[in-house]
């Protein structure tokens, strides 16, 4: 599938930075064995926005100089505490990463960064996920594709300091000059073939006082780990079934717990007719009314589900009672902000697109374990925002924050949803009400119907075209409000977001900080308006970008056509900056732009810049009836993306194999969002209850050919990867579809208004019964 071509790292002077740029301050921490630390902040400086020589340059837009990654970093700066690397007497080098890994590979890349600075093998570094550390304030949130960008330098500073101390201690013990000793694979190596393991130096290298120390980082041209492909370090545990997710934890007496939920979205329980009957069902230990439904605790999840389905509950209506797709869309359209340029002034082109609601459900449903006692509480779960969770849980269980321990478990996918901790709050409430530990899990139907969604939005674009220039380009994005709560990950902005208009302010900040129209289109404006706070929402590999980019890239193809230009040539002429032109050229060459295609099939292009990175996609699609109508049982086929060439310039690449994996995931999501996957709201609830209703990309939708090209970059630092693959791919798939069919869709995914290829599942009882005929389908 993928190949990459990494250039040898550029020389230091090529990065326009002085030698002193590699010198930082780290901390030696007073401890029995060597403990080093660094502030989780950085002060690297990015180059100023590139000046443009084009005819009608647009003024620099906010993200080009200062984007969400900078905002997240700066949010951390004033209050940041220290991250620590410890060297144990047994030689282990360990680090508790204050982030959440849901498959992005950040544990592996963090091991690589530490291994690089300490001359270790990657598997000699132990990286775990840190418990909630409230003293980190803004500094323990996993979102916005920010992990590597924010942690790269601080981790290197700590690791380089550790190595320096070990070398000094080793030199003393060997009675040799420190300049003559080196280290490799956890040994300090001296002259004459003598060596000492790190473990034997852990005490000698320790400090009895805590103090600041100047540290010099390894020069980039000496890197031997960073930039080399590395497999995920938890892969063996995964393929043998040993990787432990939250619901795999064996916490004593934490029995399976499931909540019976309302037929309406966010409906609440009013009364239960048969509590005692259900309490006596097989395996059931507890049944109680809680704030979001009726909770059942049982010996097995199967018995808890049976009990949930037996409950006779009268419900209060939900937050969108009686509403459906069209009524919500009317509210969104009513909130669309006006364009600055009136229609019909000169030659204007208008386009309007609707993006229907999408589920950001991961394969691991919302889940958490809780053991709440009178004097303390302990919570386990896959949380990307554990400090905020800790604060909210403390309120629910009426304990001080210091008595609430929040353990971050490895997550089974997130894509943005696990910035919220709905299951952890429910688990805490259930454990408190039952007076017993619980292992709470949402069923798939709950996760799909009541879980967080990527909200419905519209994107309107108006461009004014001159003879050989685009005079103005305006985009108005209007969306069902995305909850950015809990702010930047801690109680301060979480509270601000809950204040009146607070979320809108933060949303607009994030929109302004992430969205850029990367073309020289004269007067360029982008505005966001959000409406209707009654849905459970969150990002799904970004909040706005995939939709904003789809609308924009469709419009770019239209503008090219209006000016009689080829879509590639047009982009090449109007794109801002060498990095974007570089990735565009890479996909055009590798993907053979303009090659002859059969009728009903076509190529399409898309570009996007975000997360300190530039991306381009060249997609080929097959829209011929024999492909679209392929019979697949309980699935959606539709147009087939047959080939994807994707180029990415993300600056310094820590792990090319991990980066390729993230691009592949983004492309799979793009196929789903443009062609097959959406939720339908009807009578106040979402119809889709499982993967046979909600058509995420499957093997039969997967492009047989995928080529990810990592292009050479002189950017000195790593950008963000987790969400990066999606937007350019969305634009390219949409454009390929238009070029293959001649139809410009008004909404995405294109199948949203097709008849359901399934019989909707009932909402009462809330959980579809498990079949009993599984042995009829063996193979």
């Amino acid at each position: 599938m993928a190949h990459h071509r990494l250039a040898s790292p550029p020389a230091e002077d090529g990065l326009r930075k002085p030698v002193g740029r590699r010198r930082f301050l780290g901390y030696l921490i007073a401890a029995p064995t060597l403990v080093v630390a660094a502030e989780l902040t950085r002060n690297q400086i990015f180059g100023a926005p590139e000046a443009s020589a084009a005819a009608l340059p647009s003024v620099p837009q906010t993200p080009e100089a200062y984007d969400l990654l900078d905002a997240l970093r700066d949010a951390m700066r004033p209050t940041a505490n220290l991250i620590r690397i410890e060297v144990g007497r047994d030689g282990t080098v360990s680090f508790a990463l204050p982030r959440s890994d849901n498959g992005q590979g950040i544990v592996t890349s963090t091991q690589m960064i530490i291994a690089e600075e300490m001359d270790l093998d990657v598997d000699q570094v132990r990286v775990t996920l840190a418990d909630a550390r409230p003293e980190l304030l803004f500094n323990q949130i996993t979102g916005g594709s920010s992990t590597t960008f924010t942690t790269y330098t601080p981790i290197r500073v700590a690791a380089a300091l550790a190595r320096g101390r070990l070398l000094e201690a080793g030199a003393q013990l060997l009675a040799q000059d420190v300049r003559t000793v080196t280290s490799r694979k956890g040994l300090v190596l001296g002259a004459g073939g003598r060596s000492i393991p790190f473990g034997e130096l852990a005490e000698k290298a320790a400090s009895d006082t805590t103090r600041q120390v100047e540290v010099t980082l390894k020069a980039r041209e000496k890197f031997s780990v960073i930039g080399k492909p590395h497999n995920k370090t938890d892969a063996r545990d995964i393929v043998t079934g040993r990787k432990v997710f939250a619901t795999d934890l064996q916490i004593p007496d934490a029995l399976p717990t499931v909540i019976c939920r309302a037929p309406d979205l966010n409906g609440t329980p009013d009364d239960v007719d048969n509590l005692d009957d259900v309490r006596s069902m097989p395996g059931v230990t507890d049944v109680e009314v809680v704030s979001t439904g009726v909770a059942v605790r049982a010996r097995t999840f199967g018995q808890a589900i049976d009990a949930v389905n037996a409950l006779q509950v009268s419900w209060n209506r939900g937050t969108v009672a009686g509403e459906d797709d069209e009524s919500i869309l009317r509210r969104v359209r009513a909130a669309e902000l006006p364009m600055a340029v009136p229609a019909g002034v000169g030659r204007t082109i208008d386009r309007a697109f609707t993006f229907w609601t999408a589920s950001n459900s991961s394969l691991e449903t919302n889940c958490a374990l809780a053991d709440v006692r009178s004097d303390r509480a302990e919570i386990w779960g896959p949380m990307k925002n554990p400090i905020a969770a800790q604060g909210d849980i403390a309120k629910i269980v009426d304990l001080p924050i210091s008595k609430v321990t929040v353990h971050v478990t490895q997550g089974g996918g997130s894509f943005g949803r696990k910035l919220f901790y709905d299951a952890a709050l429910e688990a805490a409430e259930c454990s408190k009400v039952f007076g017993k530990p619980v292992k709470l899990m949402w069923t798939r139907a709950d996760d799909s119907r009541q879980g967080r969604v990527h909200p419905m939005s519209t994107s309107r674009v108006r461009a004014q075209v001159g003879a050989d220039a685009v005079l103005s380009y305006e985009q108005r994005h209007t969306s069902v409000a995305t909850q950015i709560n809990p702010g930047l990950g801690e109680p301060v902005t979480a509270a601000a977001v809950k204040a009146p208009l607070g979320n809108l302010t933060l949303s607009e900040s994030i929109f302004e900080l992430t969205q850029v129209t990367p073309y020289e289109f004269g007067v360029s404006t982008r505005l966001l308006n959000e409406v209707d706070m009654r849905f459970n929402t969150s990002a799904m590999r970004n909040i706005y970008s995939p939709n904003v980019a789809t609308a924009r890239e469709l419009m770019v193809d239209e503008l090219a056509a209006a000016m009689g230009k080829d879509p590639y040539e047009f982009r090449r002429e109007f794109l801002r900056g060498a990095r974007l032109r570089g990735v565009l050229d890479a996909v055009a060459k590798e993907g053979r732009w303009g090659r002859s295609m059969k009728k009903g099939t076509a190529q399409g292009l898309g570009v996007h810049t975000e997360y300190k990175a530039a991306t381009a996609a060249l997609v080929e699609i097959d829209c011929r009836p024999e492909t679209v109508d392929r019979p697949i049982r309980e699935g959606v086929t539709g147009p087939r993306v047959t080939r994807v060439t994707f180029a990415v310039d993300v600056g310094l690449v820590v792990n090319p194999r991990g980066l390729e994996a993230q691009m592949m995931g983004g492309i799979s999501d793009a196929i789903a969002l443009i062609l097959t996957s959406s939720l339908h709201l009807t009578d106040g609830h979402f119809v889709e209850a499982s993967w046979d209703n909600y058509f995420y990309t499957r093997q039969w939708n997967t492009p047989p050919e995928l080529n990810v090209v990592i292009v050479e970059s002189d950017a000195p630092e790593p950008g963000g990867a987790g969400e990066l693959g999606l937007s350019a791919a969305c634009g390219a798939i949409a454009n390929a579809y238009v070029r293959a069919t001649g139809i410009v869709p008004e909404y995405f995914p294109i199948n949203h208004k097709d008849p359901f290829p399934f019989e909707p599942k009932p909402t009462v009882p809330p959980i579809p019964e498990s079949p009993t005929d599984g042995l009829d389908f063996t193979y």
Partner: protein, 156 residues
């Protein structure tokens, strides 16, 4: 309540539980074998794919009462031969398939069964055969899964 005995990953196991409890919950919640994952409970996502007497099946959709004394159930934990991984597991490592890893035990068990099925039926393990695999990967690792299945099959 009934007593159910069968072979799980080579060991005889016995549980006392109602006949209609699905085998997935017996394996996970009662026997503590957690490789097979819950992803839907209705035989759609296939995250719990395991083997019964060598064939792929989904224990979320089989009542424990339907399991016989002489049935041999194999989960991902029982696929390797001690420390020696199955060729499909090796292929998964070699291609660095997994991201979050939640679906991958089911993907591997499905892949092994699909390869065996094709071998027995004398079919090619081509893209059409791979596209019969219905297991969902929400991280979108499908391309690497395809590569790994083909590579793993070479050594089976």
């Amino acid at each position: 309540m009934g007593t159910h005995t069968f072979t799980l990953n080579g060991e005889r196991v016995t549980v006392d539980v109602e006949d209609d409890v699905r085998l997935l919950w017996v394996i996970r919640d009662m026997l503590g074998v957690t490789g097979p994952k819950y992803g839907c409970g209705i035989n759609v996502c296939k995250a719990c794919t395991s083997h019964i007497n060598g064939k792929a099946f989904n224990p979320c959709s089989v009542p424990v009462g339907a399991i016989s004394d002489d049935d041999e159930v194999t989960t991902i934990e029982g696929l390797a031969d001690g420390d020696k991984l199955h060729p499909m597991q090796e292929a998964w490592l070699d291609r660095d398939v997994a991201q979050c890893g939640y679906c991958q035990p089911g993907q591997i068990m499905a892949a092994v069964a699909k390869v065996r099925q094709c071998q027995e039926e004398g079919r090619d393990l081509d893209d059409d055969a791979i596209e019969e695999i219905r297991n969902i990967c929400r991280c979108g690792t499908y391309n690497r899964i395809r590569e790994a299945i083909k590579a793993g099959a070479e050594n089976m």
